[in-house]
């Protein structure tokens, strides 16, 4: 997952950059035109010294003041043309490239939204965000400058040297010689610089992580008086970063002094040689002047090759990072050809693991787990699965509480119902229909969830709650009121703008209990057929909890619900309870039954063993 260092090989970079083609295609005409214009403009600036030469050797040498007017006029026209052409080039590409960047970002965002949740568990959001921002900016800059200017400057250098050789081959040769060592030196420095730059990038990443944690965990830092040691860790990391940055500066200093010295020496040599030739009458004074101006004009194109290549390299890495995400496969609907291969055979007919349920093949309604196993895709081989052959049946209209010790996999089980994770084996059915064959869209419209972590988005309270409703809900206002009433979220009315108050990262911050109630309202707002609630009342105080429970009972009466519960009060919302232990359903029954018959359950619910004394679980 971390950015694997891309070997600095030209072919692989070129291949990476070629992947941009589908995005470049729509703007290819403009890019091409812009390149042609840039080449023209760049060559125009090479013609200017030739006009100078003509003026020096012609009207000036002939003492013809009138003649210089013509030369100056040509110069003026050339200058205006150059300026306008460069302007047209920028104007041609500005909007299309902004559009290209936006299109790539939009695709990335749409794709990320549809990647499996398991993908998001593996990737830090910061990593993905940097792909959507910095990396795309690098790609856009590559198309804007290096792509065009590698061509333009290459052409300019070629044309320039042709002109130089046409003027005087000896002087041209003197100027040409340093180009070779210069490019070698520059590319050597650039490759070392790229390494240092990547190291600095990683160190900045570490530093950012530290900052992020120190801010997010500020209450812990302060609560334990740890800000000194955090500051020390910060200091160490930032010192390391400074060290790397100084290495970068030294390399940069090396590159730039080479870039300064080598061409100057060549130009100096050409000057001395040229002066001798002028004195000998081999060339005209105008030729020397033109020569030196062309040499000067060529300095920038030659110097730029190195860093244009470096920018291309960076853009190639950025492109790789971008497509690394885009190549991930999206969640697919309705698997073709008989579903997943490793699906287990239907459970044996006796169903011994589920004594509470009579074998009743005719009644296939409700929510049903059949031989469901789950292990995280990235877990090691030997690790036992989180869920192991779960058989469970929730009848239509029934509410089942799921109880288990901390970390027993309750939350994982709930995530399987809306297919946030895919079962490893077995199947889950809603009213007899296998959820693996349903379009996710429909499945998720049927199943409504309240998560353990109540996340609100940057939108109004009302919008946040109504997210749970189907798109065509009649009378959304009434439905909203009902949902808020169920969740006892009356506090909404006294917010500054009532249900229109903005919340989330960019709005008012609400307490944990308030957010939890809104998340609950969101889950019940659409009168969903199936409801999955993960410990929905944990952050509420006793009073509110009692009120929510009373209201929730009404809702639960008409839906099929799975409720993760930590305490007796929540369990009592349910008709039956299932005990999850060691990845299996250990027992199913009513609260009272299990309290009497199951030691682990009694222990979980009351903290003391109910029947079997000293019979500690696990």
């Amino acid at each position: 997952m971390p950015t694997t260092p891309v070997p600095a090989k030209a072919p692989s970079s070129a291949r990476s950059l070629l992947r941009l083609w589908p995005y470049v295609r729509p703007v290819r005409a403009r890019l091409l035109l812009a390149a042609v214009i840039a080449i023209t403009a760049s060559c125009l600036s090479l013609v200017i010294p030739l006009v100078l030469k003509w003026m020096v050797d012609g009207p000036v040498a002939d003492r013809d003041p009138g003649g210089v007017w013509l030369g100056a006029l040509v110069l003026l026209l050339l200058g205006i043309a150059e300026a306008v052409l460069f302007g047209i080039r920028r104007w041609l590409v500005s909007r299309p490239l902004a559009r290209l960047e936006a299109a790539m970002r939009g695709d990335l965002y749409a794709h990320l939204q549809r990647l499996p949740v398991a993908f998001h568990d593996r990737w830090a959001s910061g990593q993905l965000l940097s792909r959507g921002t910095t990396d795309l900016m690098l790609v856009r800059m590559f198309l804007q400058f290096p792509l065009t200017f590698l061509v333009v400057n290459g052409t300019t250098i070629l044309v320039g040297f042709i002109i130089l050789f046409a003027q005087d081959w000896l002087l041209a040769l003197v100027l040409l010689i340093p180009v070779v060592p210069l490019t070698v030196l520059i590319s050597y420095f650039e490759s070392r610089y790229a390494l240092a730059a990547r190291r600095a990038q990683d160190q900045i990443g570490d530093l950012t992580t530290l900052v992020e944690e120190s801010v997010l965990g500020i209450r812990v830092v302060k609560g334990f008086g740890r800000h000194r040691s955090q500051a020390r860790a910060f200091k160490e990391l930032s010192q390391e970063l400074r060290g790397t940055e100084l290495v970068k500066a030294r390399l940069l200093a090396g590159i730039w002094s080479a870039i300064t010295v080598i061409p100057e020496i060549a130009i100096g040599a050409a000057l001395v040689l040229g002066t001798v030739q002028v004195a000998d009458g081999d060339i005209s004074a105008g030729t020397l002047v033109a020569f030196l101006s062309i040499a000067l004009a060529l300095r920038w194109p030659v110097e730029s090759i190195g860093f244009l290549l470096a920018m291309s390299q960076e853009a190639a890495t950025a492109t790789d990072r971008y497509f690394e995400v885009l190549d991930e496969e999206r969640e697919r609907d309705t698997p073709v050809g008989g579903g997943s291969p490793e699906r287990a055979e239907p459970t044996n007919p006796a169903e011994p693991t589920n004594p509470a349920e009579p074998a009743d093949p005719a009644d296939r309604g409700g929510l049903r787990f059949e031989g469901v196993s789950f292990r995280y895709p990235d877990s090691a081989e030997g690790v036992p699965p989180v869920l192991d052959r779960i058989d469970l049946r929730i009848r239509p209209g029934e509410t089942l509480a799921l109880v288990g010790s901390t970390g027993s996999g309750k939350t994982t089980l709930t995530a399987l119902v809306p297919r946030l994770h895919e079962v490893t084996a077995g199947r889950i059915t809603l009213d007899g229909e296998d959820i693996a064959t349903m379009p996710r869209e429909r499945l998720r419209a049927l199943v409504s969830v309240a998560f353990e972590e109540p996340t609100l988005f940057s939108a109004s309270v009302g919008e946040n709650v109504l997210m749970g409703a189907a798109d065509g809900t009649a009378a959304p206002a009434a439905e909203l009121d009902r949902a808020l009433a169920v969740a006892q979220a009356g506090f909404v009315r006294s917010l500054p703008d009532g249900v229109d108050t903005g919340v989330g990262e960019q709005g008012l911050s609400l307490s944990g209990g308030q957010r939890q109630r809104l998340a609950l309202a969101r889950a019940v707002v659409g009168r969903p057929r199936f409801l999955v609630l993960d410990d929905p009342l944990s952050a509420l105080d006793v009073h509110t909890e009692a009120l929510v429970e009373a209201a929730l009972r009404e809702v639960l009466r008409e839906t099929t619900a799975l409720v993760v519960a930590h305490r007796p009060s929540t369990v009592l919302l349910a008709d039956r309870v299932a005990l999850l232990s060691g990845g299996r359903i250990a027992a199913v029954g009513t609260h009272q039954e299990l309290m009497r018959t199951n030691a682990e359950y009694a222990w979980l619910m009351s903290g003391s063993t109910g029947t079997g004394e000293g019979n500690h679980p696990r």
Binding site: M55, P65, G71, E101, G106, Q113, L252, S293, S511
Partner: protein, 630 residues
């Protein structure tokens, strides 16, 4: 009476009760949509603070700044000598050579070599020295932001979202780095080149120099117009990208609800809108630069044509030497070459200035809970007992906006007592706890620990005395063991495991892939909320404070977990003073004393049995709770 409590419990908690600064708890404390600078990411910057910040960063390096300036002065001199040598070569070298006098030509060769190597060497020196300088400045600035943000009190962090604070110390520092490393040299280069070349041109020929200097007027105007226009589009673009980033990260961090509630399409539409806005402003910035480049190039090229015309006329006239014209033409090229780059510099300057202003605004925030200048040590615990006495002496606490959270009250908790604080949301329980933990300072009165005002204790001393475990149990990247050891950095592995065992966390930790050495970030998503809270408890246990505060710290624990916590308080933490805030009343049973709070006041105070037996609020609450247990 009880019905009133019920309704206020359900509907009266408009503000986070643990957040006095949110202000909305006070009626009219916040005007919707207006006023609060925290909402706009726009902290007030005191006038001149940005400049003062820059000065204070640079002033310790005054000598080095001077050295850098000198190096650059000489470096530019060496660079700009070239065309003069050309003029000398053409006007003197050529005729002398024809006379068989090689002196001037050798002088030109030597001069050119010296200048070339000198320029290279000075360039090297300049980049190394200025690199060191800018790194030292950045190091200092990063450190300052970090230290300051850590020093700022919790109420600041409650309001200033973490995302903003993070972008202050990352993107904003980064844009300043770009300015220091690339932009500033460019600017000084450009200015020096302008000065040198203008002087040289004026010296070579007064009238031609005059034309060059005159061309600076339209250039200056162009730069000004550009700065004004690009400033506006820049601000628009940075707002637009911020919108994109917020939407992006919000979606990624809430991917489960996004999926479960089928928000993908609605999000696509919303993102498209934000993305299009950024696209537009991004294009605007590029076009603005295009406009500037065309304008400045036009001015430059027209001036070159004018000067060449004038110079050539004069050479033809015989009033100007040819070499001087050649030198002038070469200089003109150099003069106008960097104006494109000036535009880019202006871009980085704009963004750096904006960033610096934001940083200055952050640094201008004063910590409302400052460390004492002369910290006092706690007296040794009397009688060798681990707990300490806590006294709230005439304490009153109000919002900054004026709303009163805790009216003046007094409270004494004897050493070793465990008190439970109950009451509905918004009653002020958390505020009480945070005053004791010194997350906030009281508006009036004092909080005393064994007779010492906690404001006079050093941070280390305070944390040996008081530790608070909150509902949110944040895990830092690193191993589980390291996370527990935050409470006591010198703890041995044995002590860490003992602490985990005491709280009942040992079992699940041993079950993790690498046991205590499991990196919580890699498997972070797999550590459940309840398990996190157990780790947080182990942390507090290991810290072994005199006073322990538990603020809703058991909300995600199951019953056995809660029992383990109670057991640990009974055994490991025996004799410590403890303040327990809990929604659930199970915890209350272990308390020696119960406080019932309502609207910021302590309305009942007594032993649990006594209160349960009575007819007050607590009896009512307790009955409801018993019923819920069945």
């Amino acid at each position: 009476m009880t019905t009133a409590t019920t309704s206020s419990g359900a509907a009266g908690d408009t503000a986070r009760d643990d957040d006095p600064a949110a202000g909305s708890g006070a009626p009219g404390g916040r005007e919707p949509g207006a006023g609060d600078p925290f909402d706009q990411d726009d902290l007030p910057v005191p006038p001149g603070a940005t400049g003062a910040l820059l000065r204070s960063l640079l002033s310790p390096h005054r000598a080095r700044v001077l050295r850098v300036a000198l190096i650059l002065l000489f470096q530019q001199a060496a660079v700009q000598a070239g065309p003069l040598l050309v003029a000398y070569a053409i006007d003197r070298g050529v005729p002398a050579f024809r006379e068989r006098d090689y002196g001037p030509l050798i002088a030109v060769a030597a001069g050119y070599a010296v200048c070339a190597f000198g320029a290279g060497l000075l360039q090297y020196l300049f980049i190394s020295v200025s690199g060191r300088l800018s790194q030292d400045v950045l190091l200092e600035l990063r450190g300052r932001i970090f230290r300051h943000s850590q020093a700022l009190s919790v109420d600041f962090h409650d309001r200033y979202t973490s995302g903003r604070l993070i972008s202050r110390s990352t993107t904003d520092v980064e844009s300043l780095r770009e300015l220091l490393e690339e932009g500033l040299q460019e600017l000084i280069d450009v200015i020096l080149a302008f000065v040198y070349i203008s002087v040289l041109l004026l010296w070579l020929d007064l009238s031609m120099g005059g034309v060059a200097v005159a061309s600076f007027v339209p250039l200056y105007l162009l730069v000004r117009v550009y700065r004004r226009r690009v400033g506006a589009v820049y601000a628009e673009r940075s707002t637009a990208i911020a919108g994109v980033v917020v939407k992006f990260s919000e979606t990624l961090n809430g991917i489960r609800p996004v999926r479960a509630f089928r928000r993908e399409r609605a999000n696509d539409t919303e993102f498209q809108r934000l993305n299009a806005r950024h696209e537009r402003s991004n294009g605007d910035v590029m076009l603005e630069l295009a406009r500037y480049v065309v304008g400045s190039r036009l001015v430059a090229n027209v001036s070159v044509a004018a000067m060449v015309l004038w110079g050539a006329w004069r050479v033809a006239d015989g009033t100007l030497a040819l070499g001087v014209l050649a030198a002038a033409v070469l200089y003109l090229r150099r003069l106008y070459d960097p104006i494109d780059r000036l535009g880019m510099f202006l871009n980085s300057y704009e963004s750096a200035a904006a960033s610096l202003a934001k940083i200055a605004g952050l640094l201008a925030q004063t910590p409302s809970v400052p460390e004492p200048a002369h910290p006092v040590e706690l007296p040794p615990a009397p009688g060798g007992q681990p707990g300490r006495e806590v006294v709230f002496d005439g304490v009153r606490f109000t919002y900054r906006t004026g709303g009163e959270v805790l009216p003046r009250f007094g409270l004494t908790i004897p050493a070793g007592q465990t008190i439970a604080v109950v009451g509905s949301t918004g009653a002020g329980k958390s505020t009480l706890a945070k005053l004791l933990a010194r997350f906030y300072d009281p508006t009036e009165g004092r909080v005393l620990l064994d007779g010492v005002d906690i404001r006079e204790l050093s941070t280390a001393g305070l944390r040996r005395g008081v530790v608070m475990v909150t509902q949110e149990s944040f895990l830092f990247s690193g191993t589980v063991a390291e996370n527990i050891a935050i409470g006591a950095p010198d703890a041995t592995r044995e002590q860490i495991e003992d602490a985990a065992r005491a709280i009942g966390a040992h079992e699940f930790i041993s079950g993790l892939p690498d046991g205590y050495d499991t990196d919580v970030r890699k498997r972070g998503g797999r550590i459940s909320a309840g398990q996190r809270q157990l780790v947080a408890f182990a942390r507090a246990l290991l810290a072994d404070p005199s006073v322990l505060i538990l603020d809703e710290a058991t909300s995600s624990l199951d019953v056995p977990g809660e029992r383990a916590v109670q057991r640990a308080m009974d055994t490991v933490l025996r004799g410590r003073t403890a303040v327990v805030i809990a929604h659930r009343l199970s915890t209350v049973e272990v308390a020696d004393r119960v406080l019932v709070m309502e609207h910021g006041r302590i309305v009942e105070d007594g032993a649990p049995a006594e209160l349960i037996g009575g007819t007050g609020r607590f009896a009512e609450l307790h009955r409801a709770w018993r019923e819920s247990l069945v």
